[in-house]
Each structure stands twice: as C-alpha cells, then as structure tokens.
Symmetry: C2
Subunit: 440 residues, 2 copies
C-alpha cells in the first residue's frame, strides 16, 4: 500500500495538466467547486463528511519516484510535466463546508482556489472521499433521527470495501452513531469499538450454555450474549441462568423483531434481569429502526444499510471549474451549457438564513467575490450565518479539521446543525430539501 495519494486519480487529470502546461494555460488562477446538483435519494438534507480525510490526503498528494516512474513508463505525460509533478505540492487555498455541516442542492462544499493545474489534480480524490463518506453520513443521520435517542453502533465493515469500511465507521460516528465494530477505525480515529460474539462461537461449543459460560469467563457478566442461535426464549433463560440478573445485554439477530423484542423484555423482567439491555442487529435500516424506536429495544446495531448509504451509495457530487483568469488576467465565470447538467458559474459565498426562533429557512448562495467577505445584499437577508470556513490557506492545512480533534468537532457540529433544521428534515419519506437553495 503506497502512502502517496497522488495516483488515486483519473488518468485525464494528468493529461489535462500536460496539455495545459504545454499551452501555457496551466497556471491561470482558477476556482473549482465541489457540489451536488440534487440530494441523492430525495433526502431532505445531506451531511458533509470526509473533509478531514481529504485534507490529510492532500498533504500526502505528492509524486515521488515510484509515482513518476509509473507515469514515465506508461508515457502518460511529457518529461516537462514529470518535472513539474515532481515538485508539486498543493499551494492553493480551499474553503469549504466544515465537516458534519448539513448541505443542500448547489451548496459549494469545497471551493478550491489555485492554479488550474493544482485544482484539477485534486478532482478525483476530492470526489471519491466526499461522495462516499457523505453518502454514509447522510444515511447515518437519518437513522439517528429514526432511533429517537437510542444509541446506534455501526457494524457494516463486512459489506463494503475493507478501507471504505474504516471511512464509513468514521462518517457514521460524525453523524451521531456511538460506536463501530471496526478495529482500524478505533485505532486510526479513536472511535469506540464494540462487539462480543457471533453465532459461530455458540455453534463451536457443545451447547449454548457452554458457549455462554466461555464468553462470560472471558468478558464478564456485563457482556452481551447472542441468544438466537437456537430457540430465542430458551437462549434468554440460559443466558440469565449463566450470567445472573446482572447480565449486560442480550442481542437478537433474527425474527420478527417488534414481537420478539417485546417477548424478550417480558421474559428478562420475569427472570429478574430488569437491568439487562436488548440490542438488535437484524439487517436494520432507518425504516426498521423507526419501527422499533418505541419498542423496548435499548440499542441498535446497523450493518449493510449504513455503509452503503441506504439506497444511495454515492452522493452524486461533481467538481466543476466555475471561474478562471483569462489571458488578459481578468476573472471569467464559466459553466458547461448542456441543459440537464447545468451548473452556476462564478465565485460564491454562502450564508444560511434563520428565522427568529433559530430555525434554518434557506441556503443563500451569493454570486460575487467568493467566500470570506461580506457579500452584497447579505445585510438584507435577515439573520444569517457564514457557512464556509478556510480549510487550507496557501497550501497550509488549517488546524482543527483533521485527526481526532476534527472528528470530535464534526460530530458536535452535526448535532448542532441538524437541531436547527425545520422538522420536515426528519422525515424519512422522499421529498424536497428541508430548506430551499436561493441564489442572490
């Protein structure tokens, strides 16, 4: 596994740099924008995730000899371009929606201000990370609403690529999940990990009782026993007999959950295990979680559906050149013309508007001088908040967005931002975005 991220890139980004260097246009100041034309799955809002990972990946976006050798051998770019790549280090400025923030159609989630060549090189990597991480976080955030305050653990590593699994654990945690099954996510990102035993462990032993005894000997009576390998009711009885009423929890991974959960709760109470919790893990998604929220379930383990974005495994984000300096050094706004893929050219800044109770009412996108200033007309828009923040300034990643601190900040930010959304944002049905995007 190479630590350079530079080849996690589409071939054409390199040939564009090659052609632009030769044409003398590679160094034109340019603005690229990463955004989603619409919210995948007709979700009510999107959740930005992956920004911290992207910033870490940009710091490792260097063409060292192994990368250059591949490009040279394959004759992908000219020798002059190889020399330029050898010295490449992103030196531009990146504004963006801070990680954990919510977003809407057209929201400029990442704004890259740099030379054309620097900006275009980041396209593939930025989209890979944001598209997949945000898809997971957006699904996870819906599940968090559906669970109505009960904790959720992400346990879908086995249903997505082995490295995407680590990223998915991180994204779900930012969106409010409490823990993950993925150990690498625990090590890399400090996310709490959890898990006790699978059916195979019970099946390995002569009897369910022996399996439970073995697990308790290793993990203590506070552990979670999986009770549905054979007969669930018998499993619960055996679990409490072996562990005593201080048994931490039982896990149920099959059956008609609302019915089974009610019966297991009743049985646990009858057996005196009134403090023993119930966790369920049977192919849950936001809809089944919502259906169980009022049942005596204590926590949820969600696998497949969260790591594959619950029907929307990618956010459909794109990365477009919106402005550049021309040969005369003047800024030009640009956009592709084709109807169904129209984008809005020009530099932008963003304010989120609120009513006087603090509920978000609109995503205001101001065309003009770009982020950082006071956009024209902003004073007329009522109560507003600046959304964009500087993430990289002249090639230097700004503190606070990366590592464990970035994740913690993103998690709190997500909690705060979703609380500000109108109630319709919590709807699990397909529909319009919770607030409109307005261009000013």
């Amino acid at each position: 596994m190479n630590t350079s991220t530079a080849l996690l890139t589409d071939h054409y980004e390199l040939t564009m740099v090659d052609a632009a260097l030769r044409a003398g246009t590679a160094h034109r100041r340019s603005v690229f924008e990463l955004f989603a034309r619409r919210l995948a799955g007709a979700r009510r809002y999107g959740v930005v995730a992956g920004t911290g990972r992207l910033l870490e990946a940009i710091e490792r976006f260097r063409f060292a000899e192994p990368e250059l050798e591949f490009l040279r051998e394959q004759r992908i770019v000219s020798d002059e371009t190889l020399d330029w790549l050898a010295d490449f280090r992103f030196g531009g400025t990146i504004w963006g929606y801070p990680e954990g923030e919510v977003f809407f159609p057209g929201s400029p989630l990442v704004i890259v201000e740099s030379s054309f060549a620097e900006g275009v090189l980041l396209e593939t990597l930025a989209l890979s990370i944001l598209n997949s991480d945000s898809a997971v976080a957006t699904a996870a955030s819906r599940m968090r609403h559906a669970a109505a305050g009960k904790p959720l653990a992400e346990m879908g590593s086995r249903r997505t690529g082995e490295r995407s699994a680590v990223a998915a654990a991180r994204a779900a945690y930012i969106a409010g999940f409490s823990a993950t099954s993925n150990l690498e996510a625990g090590r890399n990102y400090g996310i709490p990990t959890m898990g006790t035993a699978a059916h195979s462990f019970t099946l390995l032993h002569e009897t369910e009782r022996e399996a439970f005894e073995a697990q308790i000997a290793a993990l203590g009576t506070g552990t979670t026993l999986l009770v549905d390998t054979y007969d669930i009711e018998q499993g619960v009885r055996t679990a409490v007999e072996v562990a005593g009423p201080e048994l931490g929890a039982v896990r149920i991974d099959s059956g008609d959950l609302p019915v089974v959960v009610a019966r297991v709760r009743q049985l646990l109470d009858e057996l005196g295990a009134t403090g023993t919790r119930i966790t369920v893990t049977n192919d849950l998604d936001e809809y089944t979680v919502a259906a169980l929220a009022a049942s005596p379930v204590d926590s949820f383990g969600v696998g497949t559906s969260v790591v594959v974005g619950s029907g929307s495994p990618t956010m459909g984000m794109v990365y477009k050149l919106v402005a550049h300096e021309n040969a005369a050094g003047e800024w030009v706004s640009v956009a592709k013309k084709s109807a169904e893929k129209a984008s809005v050219g020009g530099r932008k800044s963003v304010r989120r508007a609120y009513d006087d109770r603090g509920v978000a009412t609109a995503e205001l996108i101001f065309l003009g001088d770009g982020p950082g200033g006071e956009p024209e007309g902003a004073e007329l828009a009522g109560i507003t908040r600046e959304v964009l923040a500087p993430l990289v300034v002249d090639g230097v990643v700004q503190p606070g967005s990366t590592g464990a601190a970035g994740i913690a900040a993103a998690r709190s930010r997500h909690e705060a931002r979703t609380r500000e959304l109108p109630i319709v944002a919590r709807s699990l049905t397909r529909g319009d975005p919770a607030i409109p995007t307005e261009y000013r």
Copy 2:
C-alpha cells in the same frame, strides 16, 4: 496507512478468539464457508471477484507491535491472547471458487479449513473484499453483455471510496471491461488506463478551438476530444477542423444519446472523419448501454453504476461455521436454526453440471467429505466439472491466483465461464438464477 490488514476486522472476532482460547476450544478444527444466500438484485448469476486481493491481504494479516499495542491499550483481549496473536499467521487451508468464476445461491465461494481461531479471524476481511469486489464484477459482467462486444471503460473512481475505486477497477477488468481511468489500478494491477480531458479543460481556454488545439498539441490527433461543452454539432465541426479527419474519437457526455450519437456519426462522416470513433459517458448503466448497443457508438465509459454495483452495492455474502471437531475429536455439522437465515451445515464439494452441448445446467453441491475428492454420487450426475480449487494449503498461498497473473487468469476464466451459461443468464430483468443450485 498501515500495511498490516489485521485490524480491518470486527472487534468481536478478537473477543471470540479470546474467549475460545480461555475455554480451550479455539484450536478445534473448523470449517467456515463464505457464500451468498441469494443473488443480490435478483441477478441471474454472480461473479466471484476479490479472491486474489484476499489472498494478498491474508499474507499481510499479522499482528505486529502497533496492532498489539492498540488491542492492549483498549483491553480488547487478555495478555495471553495478545501473545497468541503476536505469533499468528494463518496456517490453514482455503479452497474456493477461482476468481472470475460465476456463482449461484449457496455456492461455497471460500472454504476455510483451520482452527476455529484462525478461521474466525479472517471473517470480516474476507467478506469486505468479496462482497464489494463481487458486486462490482457482477454489475460489470451484465454491462459487458449489454454492450454486445463494444469496449467498456470503467471511470467511476470519483463515485466510490478512494481505495474501493482501485479495487473496483480491478473487478470490472476481470469481468471484461477493457480499461480504467484509475491510475493506481494501472500501477498496482497493470490494468490499461485511459482518459484525455474534461469540460474544465475546454472552459479554461478562451474558445473550444483553443482547447482542442492545446489538447492535440500534447496528445496528438489520435486523442479523444470532448465535444459537448457548448454546442455538440459545432464541437464536432471544430474538432475535425482542428484535428483533421484522422481525429481518434469524440466523446459525448450529455444529451439524448441515441439521437445525438446518430447525428454525430452522420456529421463525422460528412466531414470525412469516417474513422473517428464515438465514445459516450453520460451516467450509463447496463440498461442505457443496451439501448445504445445498436447505435453507432464505438465505446462506452461507465462511471457510477459499475462501481456501486448498479443497484446492488454489496452481494450480501455471509461467512458461517459449517462444521467443527467436538471435544471428542469427531466432526460435527452445524448451522444456525432461525428460519430466514438458515444455512446448510456440513463440509461440501461442488461440481457444475453441463448438457452435451456444454451448456451449464446446475450447480451441484455435495455434502460429505469436503472439496478435493470424488463426492459420493458424482458419477451419476452426468457431465460435471470440479469448481473448487485449493487457494491456500497449510498457510501457503498457491501460485496463480495473485498479482497480475491472477488477474489475467481471472479475466479469461470469466469470459469462458459466462459463455457456458444458458442464454437466460444474459437477461437484464430480475429473475431466478440462470441455473439451479441442487444439494446432493
């Protein structure tokens, strides 16, 4: 990025090893099976992909000090277990469907014969890799049929996690795609890479003509020019004016493709560019590819849909203990009892049955002594072929399945195996598997 793959693993695999070591059951000889209960998306067949990557990952599945330190600090396992993990190296035997092979519900794609502890540790990693890579390969194989012989390039890196993108390029190539946009896949796996320019390149320049001139100066007249940034017809005219009739190809990324493609072909021919090819790339999937197969398109670029498995981003494969030695050293077949997640316990071998014209007719799964022998009753089944092959023997990865040689073999194997399937396998509608799975 750590090169050890050992923590790409669910927490509970480690706690099960911990409890089983303490209980004295960890070393019981066991058989785990990786299979899909059904074909995701009601596909007609599945395509095995990821096997070579899994074998490479198993060779790097070692607990070195950084991994042990994490487990120690988090108190995930006992000190005795840490000592055991420090010496861990998979020493068992793995049989499996060779990469590129097709599969059906219940097909035992990977059979791990080892101690319980060794087998359980590989669960998460094996599922992560096979579930995601096979989902991509299965979708890609359908697109290959849909394209009716015209070449397909995978260009979806931006729509999936940055490392899953590399694996997806590999899986699509095995399933018959000709090339990828992903440079890391080119470097790691020797897959041909391709790409020329995006809309941003045209927009950077004062005019479309200047952009085309710049691209041709760098890449030659054999390049592919993207002609739909402004007006497609004008784009085609300008492209041929600038490049001459020897222009390699034009790419179209928007519009009503069947109509546009026909018009562009006519125009190219009128302009004398009769050898200039047409490639299309507008959010294609197997259905839109099929709709264009009879049009004068020369090649397809497929992005999002192939890397996210075209509606089925994961294959739903599971990894189950099917047999183990008990305390008395006797083999016991085991399976979880719950109805909707039933699996078939016991050791298995597999033969694919054929009619006398060489068309596959059934997937025969023999319960008994496991792979490698002559299963009882096999001689009665007519023309059959052994499907399982030894992938790892006593901890040693067998040659031919990994690296570039493994990929080349998998690609040929896939081509041969799909050719043997009944014609219904090529149907793009949802339905029953192309051949039934029969247990003997």
